[in-house]
Subunit: 153 residues, 4 copies
């Protein structure tokens, strides 16, 4: 009977419980999965270390977790650029199974209009190989000016 | 500062830690999210109760969790019918935000060929309304006879 | 060297040239492909006879023609229900090659909101088997009352 | 009543009738739409001039024609690299309406495996702006050695 590494999962859970806040970048799922979120060059980069508690029954990173990371990379980029949006749809292609290491999902904009935005995300494995490709369509909130001096959450 | 319900999340985590096994239906993520998996009438039904630890930063069920449940409903159905497969791609449309209650993702087969299978999944909210629609394409393992009398896991 | 049936193609072209009008149901491409469009039971049905001038290089109905028929079945349904929309995205799965006979694409609504609509379409071959499955997302025009007594084009 | 330019359509049709051959690059639809197909740098480039006979009822390039061009750019690239394949699925996002000018669909490989290939295609308008984005998944034929000296069709 295969079981996950209890210590790794427990540390991740306790860390998330302590440090989350239900806001962009800080929400519970993102903390549980150890997402490190940054915004280099008009992209959003979501990096995390694959752990066996994220596995599917066949012993690789679950496609739903891949979807989650890619969704976050696009939704956080859109939020950064324009304010929170709503995913209308997302498609993901799974090019390679991922079994470990650090992976990076990088979201970027295909086009941003006044009410609709189109984004893509590419997830690479530890060796920098493309492991998943996603495209998505979002309804954007009306762009509004932000108060100067306030950090973006 | 909004935080999740610690007790609900902790009970879910401890339950998953105790009762998971890295096999179909029993793997850690499925247990953490409380998936109840059954196979009525050539479909696979994944039912679970939405909890706030599954939320996105905007306070509704995260699209990645929706994707995960729908992926499971299709992958488990395929496994049941034919043995484990690999997702080549999945597309999800998000029709309605889900904020609570019990949701059900129901996977069904569009077509199963010898090496490729096409599936769909529909996720309904507590009121039975369609909240998400997914279609996906899978590479199937060569169908092989199963030992009689052995339960499928 | 394989060539198409000149007579069939020429008849289709001349028919389209004479009878088209750049409006819903009557536009040139729809006439060229022989689309018969009807609206039974809250769906839009696009029926046509496959001809070899619609083939791909491998001798079956081109995936792009399949896409076109399915797009028309969804766009025309939306137009009928609500006025003209714009396709944001469409995904098509190709389940079976189609080599001849009459095929039917049937569009239906997954959900229609005030500014966004989600639709699906299923294309069946001459034997009634599912040959292609599509889902799509549309931006809808603001619903406006229609003049009574005017037929919808 | 809006009608298409008869002369442009008739010239395109007669040209296709004379010059097509049901093979890669030369098949009837490709000739009718005036596709110019080339293979720069591991991509496949499909260029054509938008004409009003390719329009939807709303007066822009029909999404099905866009799908067709993008499908061709991916299928022809795959054929060039590996032999003919079959589209399992394709998703297209429509970023901008196209009303005229010369457009280019450029197909490229995301990953090619032994039995499955993942491709993308980007369609740009006359001003070089991204007007449509497609990704697709293909079943590839077993790679087989080609007879030396024979041109690839």
């Amino acid at each position: 009977m295969t079981r996950i590494d209890r210590d790794v999962a427990t540390r991740a859970f306790n860390h998330a419980l302590e440090h989350h806040e239900q806001a962009f970048e800080q929400f519970f799922i993102a903390k549980l999965l150890g997402f490190e979120i940054s915004y280099p060059d008009d992209t959003c980069r979501v990096e995390f270390a694959v752990a066996d508690f994220m596995y599917n029954p066949q012993g690789s990173l679950h496609g739903g977790v891949v979807a989650l990371a890619m969704d976050v990379s696009m939704g956080h980029l859109l939020n950064r650029l324009q304010g929170p949006g709503a995913t209308l749809e997302m498609k993901i292609q799974y090019l390679r199974a991922v079994r470990g290491g650090r992976v990076v999902a990088t979201g970027s904009v295909l086009r941003r209009g006044s009410s609709i935005a189109f984004l893509e995300s590419r997830l690479t494995n530890q060796d920098g190989e493309l492991a998943a490709m996603a495209t998505s369509t979002w309804r954007t909130s009306p762009a509004k000016p932000r108060e100067p001096g306030l950090p973006r959450t």
